[in-house]
Structure formats: C-alpha cells, structure tokens
Symmetry: C2
Subunit: 294 residues, 2 copies
Amino acid sequence: MVTGFLSLFLIDWEANNVAKTILDGNLVSKAIREDLKKRVDLLKEKNVTPCLATILVGDNPSSETYVKMKGNACAKIGMESIRIHLPENTSTEELLEKINELNENPKVHGILLQHPVPAHIDERLAFESISIKKDVDGVTSMGYGQTALGFGKYPACTPAAIMEIIRYYQIPIAGKHAVVVGRSPILGKPVSALLLNDDATVTTCHSKTTNLESILSQADIVVAAVGKPNFILGDWLKEGAVVLDAGYNKGNVGDVDYDSCYEKASAITPVPGGVGPVTISMLLKHTVIAAEEM
Amino acid sequence: MVTGFLSLFLIDWEANNVAKTILDGNLVSKAIREDLKKRVDLLKEKNVTPCLATILVGDNPSSETYVKMKGNACAKIGMESIRIHLPENTSTEELLEKINELNENPKVHGILLQHPVPAHIDERLAFESISIKKDVDGVTSMGYGQTALGFGKYPACTPAAIMEIIRYYQIPIAGKHAVVVGRSPILGKPVSALLLNDDATVTTCHSKTTNLESILSQADIVVAAVGKPNFILGDWLKEGAVVLDAGYNKGNVGDVDYDSCYEKASAITPVPGGVGPVTISMLLKHTVIAAEEM
C-alpha cells in the first residue's frame, strides 16, 4: 500500500465546501516506484531480478513508443526487461510459440503482449495463451474472472492504476455510486468489477446508453474510459464528483473536458499526468509481485 | 434460440397502457427441453449420450433435493447422469481427485459440484479444478471471465436462465437500464455481465448500496438476486418495469414482494414457476452443448 503526504490530500467528502484536489498521477507513481525499487533490491539479494517481457508485433509507432517506455521504466528501478519485436507478417502460431517460450522461461516473471496486434492474428487466442502466473497485464479471461470474483492478483493495469489513485488519496468508495463510461475488456469492465468489489454501487455505461447525462448527474465517482476526446462535460456532473480520466487521445487529451469538469469536481485526474504514469507503475508492481511469488 | 407463442407475449414497451405479462418459467423450460430432447436423440444416433455428473458432499437435505431434481430432469429428456455422493468428512484433496476423475472420463460431458460444500473444504479450489470444457454450471473463474468478456459458452445457470426468459419473451434490453440487486459470483455478477453484453446500461447494487430505492425507481429491468424474502417492494419500482426474481427463500418465496411488484410491473416472474425451472433447463442445455462439441 502506498503511503506518504496523505493528510495533505484528504478530501472532506461530507462538507459542502469541498476541497479541490488534482489527483497527481506522477506523485502516486513516484511513491509506488520508490517502494518497488526497495523490493527489487531485496529480490536481487536473493539472485532474482524481476523481468518483464514485452512483445510487439508489427510497426505501429505509438505501440513502439509504449513498449520502449515500459522497458525504460523497468530499467529505472533495477528490473530487467526483454523486448521482443516480431515482424508484421508473424502468424498466430508463431506468436503463440514465442509466448509459450516466455511462459517456460524461468527468468521471465511477466509477459505483456502490446495491443493491438495486426488484424490477421487471433489476439484473443494469443492473450489466452499467456500463463496466468505471468499475466501481469490482466488480459487472460482467467485473470479477468479472478479479478471480478475478488481474488485476482493482476488486474488489467489501467483499472489497477485507477484503484491505486483512489487508495492513495483515500477517496471513500463503499456505498458511493460509481459510474464507469466504457466497457472494454481491459478498462471499463475490469474497473467496474474492482469498484464493485470495493463496495461501490456501480453503473457501467457505453455507446448504447440512452440517458448518460442523467446517470452521470448521480455519480459520486466517474471513470471515463470511452476513447472520445473531451467527451464528458462538467455540466453533466454532480457537484463534488471525483473524476478519473483513463482516456488518452491524440494531442494529449483525455475523455473528460478538463476545464468544465474541474469546476464541478472535488477531485480530478489531469491528462497527461493522471492515470497514465500510474498504469505503467502497476505493470512494474505486478511483475515484482510475480517475481516475489515465483 | 427458443421460439413459440411469442406474439402472444410481446410487451408493448412504448405504450402507456402496458400489457401485464407473467413470465412463465415452466413454459420457457418446456420449450427448451423439447428442443433438447431432439438434440439428445440426434446425439444418441451417433452413440453419444450426454451425461451430467453431479457431486454432493455431505448431507444437506436441500442440496440432496436439488441434486435429485437435476438427475431426474436429465432422465426425462434421455440424458444420463452420474450422482456422486461423498461423505461430510471428505477432504479437499479427495474432492479434487474425484473431480479430476470426472474431468478425464470421456463419458461425462458436464460436472456440477453442488454448492455449498462443508466448511472445511476449499470450495473455490474445487470449483477451479473443473475442466473449462465441462464447467456447465459456470463456476470456474475462467468460465466467468469468458462470459463477462463475451465469449463464454456456459454462463452460470441462473443468469443464463434469466437471459433465456428475456429472449423468449422478446423483452428489449439494448439501451435499457437494468438494475441487478446482488453481487454473488454465481448470480449478481454474471447476470450483470450478460445484461451489459446485450447492451443494457447496468447498475449492480448490494448490501452496501445506500440509495437502492432511488436507483430501482429508474430501472427498466430489475433482477432480484439478494436472498431476502419479499425484499423488493412495488413502491420502489418504475411503472412498467420488467421484474426477474431469482430469489428462492424458505416457503417458496422470492426476493420480490410479488403482489405489490405485480401491480407496478409490465412483466414479472412468479416464484415458484419463474426463474427456477429454467435454471435446471439451462444446466441440461449446457451439458447437451458440451456433448455436441466433444
């Protein structure tokens, strides 16, 4: 559990003159990584170096950037990483073979297959072939099921990051109404499950939702995971809502219209510098845990 | 997909003078079992007899009744069943061994471990050890994950029954607000996931929900899965709501206060004769599918 500076950021939920808090992902991330660095050092004393293997298929430039960022983040806290870059025309079978190799490699503690893979590859089959013990990115159906049923070790990293921010800032969840906008397998669905397990009343909205504004106007906690820039407007929110923006659109823009939502919210994540940096930290954290448990 | 008599039961959702429909589980169940009987006959022509293995541990009388009912239901449509009754003092290891035997028995297509098992047994470990191919009761975390991610073959049977009733009566779901009261791993959580996958906006409520009445008053579809007799009152519902009562409490009483909810609802399942009989039919259906796919 991350600690430090907490009292400065306590949100006085009950009071009417709600304190305005910017939920600083870099701060949360720094605290996580400082803790992880110590744990990595301890593991190294036992001759174990936590190692994340990333697999990139094809030449998507943003994917290349993401994978590079993850590798660099590993290095900064003393972890190892293996970057596997497969050509665009890799077949599903070849990818499965590579994943299986990593499953069986005792030096590898976590495996991340960078989404999306080229269209001719069966991405779901590839995800499913990752060993549950190394599924630090929470992409397998078993990993998802364990998370939703309340005993998962490695939830998908962005949902895990959102929960970590909520814990760091001691935002109360139990009995609160959380509204998640989005239902993707790596974001909207698992974050809904995690909020529910922490006793929020959870509503999951999506493209077919007909009364989004009315539902959002009741939300104590809003998670935006819809993939549309500046989509959620401050006018739609309840005064004092906590807003977590998991969107990351072109031009460093989130799913939330920041300025108008800032006015209404009691606490809000910026983009960039909100959920993003914590997401990578959760990937590191899951890999360190996997190494500790191996 | 079940068909038959549908036009008689179409609900005129838009009109103010909503037709009142009692969602007759026995009728839905009959249609499913007639279809299954034909499929069992076809399988038998290929020398395959669908077979459900049930495992009961200990001497809980209601569990004994449930297991017997399931076995009898198999026989009525020409399926086989194997009833395994283990003593109260069975260890987790002994139970796992038995499950593994059934996993490897090619004559067994579905395995049901009757919940609850005695407290000294690790029930979750036992559930997890059921082969995903034979998990016709949807209890494994992988089965749950596959269901929630939209490609599960065998959702838990009560949630599957609720969806089957909705389909049989052609109740529109897309864009509707479904409120599920309860979040158990075999009922509230998976039915929330199934409704979400069918494009409902889904709110999951539970014991920590602080404003249940206000949320229920907005629900187009209500699923009661809370395990408290006559808990949900008609006063809480929106006029014309569809009410699905998955509760089954002592004295044949559901979770829904039937008389008051009947007044408000456009459609409602009775207890008994609602979700219950369809649940057993879904167990049979999943086992037949497992046999067809083996």
